[in-house]
């Protein structure tokens, strides 16, 4: 089974902190994604990466950055956390033929 693992299920951070959300997949997928999930808004794409050291902005990249130093790991960085970044964050990887995405369990981030 494909596994996408997010390092934390719950995080509480203070405003202004730098926050790292980690995601690891074990199926050698090239494409990885970070989404943000908010009630009534569905999943919105923050960033995605189609190869090591490659990244593309999604629909809501402001206030975020990403890092992909190794194929299996895709990190989301909140440079200076703000309360409006309180949300559920979902990581996903996409199979090589782009036919199926696998999701992690999500990280519920609260910024206080």
């Amino acid at each position: 089974d494909v596994k996408v693992t997010q390092s934390s299920r719950y995080l509480v951070k203070r405003t202004g902190e730098k926050v790292f959300l980690e995601c690891v997949q074990d199926m050698d997928h090239e494409n990885m994604f970070w989404y943000r999930q908010d009630p009534g808004l569905g999943l919105r794409l923050i960033y995605f990466s189609y190869d090591v050291k490659m990244k593309e902005k999604g629909d809501i990249p402001e206030g975020y950055s990403v890092s992909r130093e190794k194929k299996e790991r895709f990190s989301l960085i909140l440079e200076s956390a703000s309360t409006n970044q309180t949300s559920m964050y979902l990581c996903a990887s996409l199979t090589g033929d782009n036919t199926e995405a696998f999701f992690g369990q999500g990280t519920r981030l609260t910024v206080v």
């Binding site: 919105r44 593309e56 999500g106």
Partner: protein
């Protein structure tokens, strides 16, 4: 730009009743379409997908969906809903290297 619309934010059905969740998409080329389900506290699980061929696709847990190009729709159906189907359902379209999701429909099942 690609987009997905799920017109119903909440739907409540009785256990044993039939279900249809609506999904409309906007995409220029032949779409790859998906339905995902998210149970409370869980990640997203793929129910079914459509790429080409037969426009009626079968998925897991007794779900099916029908692709109608003329209506730009990909509605999800189930003939008899079980209490365990209560969850949030997301329709998605895949342009090239990413997935674009709808806002989701929350399904409540009453006994």
């Amino acid at each position: 730009a690609q987009s997905v619309t799920q017109p119903d934010i909440h739907i409540t059905v009785s256990e044993g009743a039939s279900l249809e969740l609506r999904c409309n998409y906007s995409y220029g080329a032949t779409p790859y379409l998906f339905w995902y389900v998210q149970s409370p506290g869980q990640g997203l699980q793929l129910l079914l997908k459509y790429f080409s061929g037969d426009t009626l696709v079968q998925g897991i847990k007794g779900f099916e969906a029908e692709f109608k190009r003329s209506q730009s729709s990909f509605n999800l159906r189930k003939p008899s809903v079980h209490w365990s189907d209560a969850a949030e359902y997301f329709c998605a379209v895949r342009p090239v290297h990413k997935l674009v999701f709808g806002a989701g429909t929350i399904l409540r099942v009453k006994s």
